[in-house]
Each structure stands twice: as structure tokens, then as C-alpha cells.
């Protein structure tokens, strides 16, 4: 195996754990390994940063309010089920 192939395999190995790194789910040694890899590999750094921003954007997706006609229908359905007066 050439150096280049070894390097690629390591990148792929690291790539698989980026989400777990972002979620704080790696142990100390794994975390250190990812950080050292990101320091030295620009391709992985770019890949990691886009993934990080994607997660951030997903967590910031705004919530919308349910339409009033829907919620009033929902409340009356539940009221019927519970036989509230």
C-alpha cells in the first residue's frame, strides 16, 4: 500500500466519526486523533467544517405556529375524547 492510500484510508476512517465528534460522543483518545487529523489535513478540515455548519443550521430551524383553525379543531377533538364539559 502506498503512503497515499494509507492517507486516504485514514481520512475515510476519520470521516465516519465526525458526527460523533460534533456530538461529544468520542472518548479522549479518539477526540485527540480527530483533532490532530483536522490540523494536518485541509481536505478533511473543509469536509468537517461544512458538516459542522450543516448540523448548526439544522438545530436552528425555526418553528412555526400551527394555524388557529387547526388548533381549535384539535382542542375540540380532544375535549370530545375526554368528555370534558
Amino acid at each position: 500500500m502506498t503512503d497515499n492510500q494509507q492517507y486516504s484510508n485514514h481520512c475515510i476512517q476519520m470521516f465516519e466519526v465526525y458526527s460523533r465528534y460534533l456530538d461529544g460522543e468520542l472518548d479522549k483518545n479518539q477526540k485527540k486523533e480527530v483533532e490532530e487529523h483536522l490540523e494536518t489535513c485541509n481536505e478533511c478540515k473543509a469536509c468537517f467544517m461544512t458538516l459542522k455548519k450543516t448540523k448548526e443550521l439544522c438545530t436552528k430551524m425555526p418553528r412555526v405556529k400551527a394555524p388557529d383553525n387547526f388548533t381549535s379543531k384539535l382542542h375540540s377533538t380532544i375535549k370530545d375524547i375526554l368528555n370534558c364539559k
Binding site: T50, K55, A66, T71, L74, I78, K79, L82
Partner: protein
Amino acid sequence: MKNQGKKPIVKDEDSELILKIKNGQTDLYETLLSRYETRIYNFGLRMCKDVSDAEDLVQETFINIFRYLKDFRMESKFKNWAYKIAASVCMKIKRKNKSPEKELSMDDILSGHNEKEVSSQIPAWVNQPAEALMNKEISLEIKKEIDNLPPNYRIVLVLRDMEGFSTKEVSEMLDLSESNVKVRLHRARIFVREGLKRYFND
């Protein structure tokens, strides 16, 4: 042993209200409904491609919540129990609509996305704060990408990244192993990321 197999009661911000409703103060249902209707409504919108399916999901979820509340043993947070019901209603709707529950490989995700070309440049959008990037257009783009995910991946991404549950909580809600949740989440995020990269490059 007396308590063998019985889990302890989990106290959360809803416990007091739930106990009152379970003990007959059913008129308090409005308070519980109001606490969760926006959250479950948004979960429905994120999981379903069209609004009427989302509304069916919300209605069916709350009907089940109030029908089975008397059997809720408070061994988990109410919120988690409610979402477990919502997730189960959602998967039932997906099965009825024959949405494919396929597995996503990295090749599936990256094929046709020009992503096998590796870039060492961090794109400009990544350096902008998420708050500055987030607008209606971006949220529609993310919604479009999650709509294109197979439902078994979409539900993991929605519960983890949008509804804020932990890996363990999602694994309990969906009856999946934690490692399965992690794999699905990673692939779903990569899938959405590919869409965002295309969006920002266009």
C-alpha cells in the same frame, strides 16, 4: 422482591400536571395540549411532505396521548413518551403511504453530487454565523433535503438535530441501537450537507 422490574418515576416539568390529569382533573388537558401542540405540529411538518399529512399526524398523536395517558407510568419524561407516540404514528403513516425505508450508503449520498472531488477550501458560507445564514430560503432548502431522505433516516435527524433529543433518547423512542442512531444521523447530515453545498455553489 416487591419492586423488581419496576422503573422509578421520572419527575420533569410536566409531572405535576400529568398527575393531576390522571387523578381526574381532565379540564387541565388544554394546558398540556398547549405546551406541546407547536412542538408536535413542527415535528409533523418536518416529517411529512405535505401539511395535511402533518395535521393528521398531530391529531392522531394527541388522540393517542390522551387515550393512553392513564396507562403512562411516568417511567420516562412525558415529552419523550409523547414523541415516541408521534414517531410511531409517523412511521405508520409512512408505511400506509408506502414510503420506502431504504438504507443509505455513502455512495448513494455522494453519487451524482460531484462530491467525490475533494476540496481543501473551506467555503465562505461556512464562516458565516448560522443566525446570519438562516432565512426562509435556507430553511426551505433544508426542508427539501430532509424530505428527500428515506423516512428512517429523516426521523433520526429530526429528533436529534431539530427536536434536540440525545442519541440514547432517540434510540429508546425508535427502538434502535445507539450505534444505529449514530450511523443514520451521520449519513442524514452528510445528505443534507450535500444539498446545502449545491445550494450555496449555485
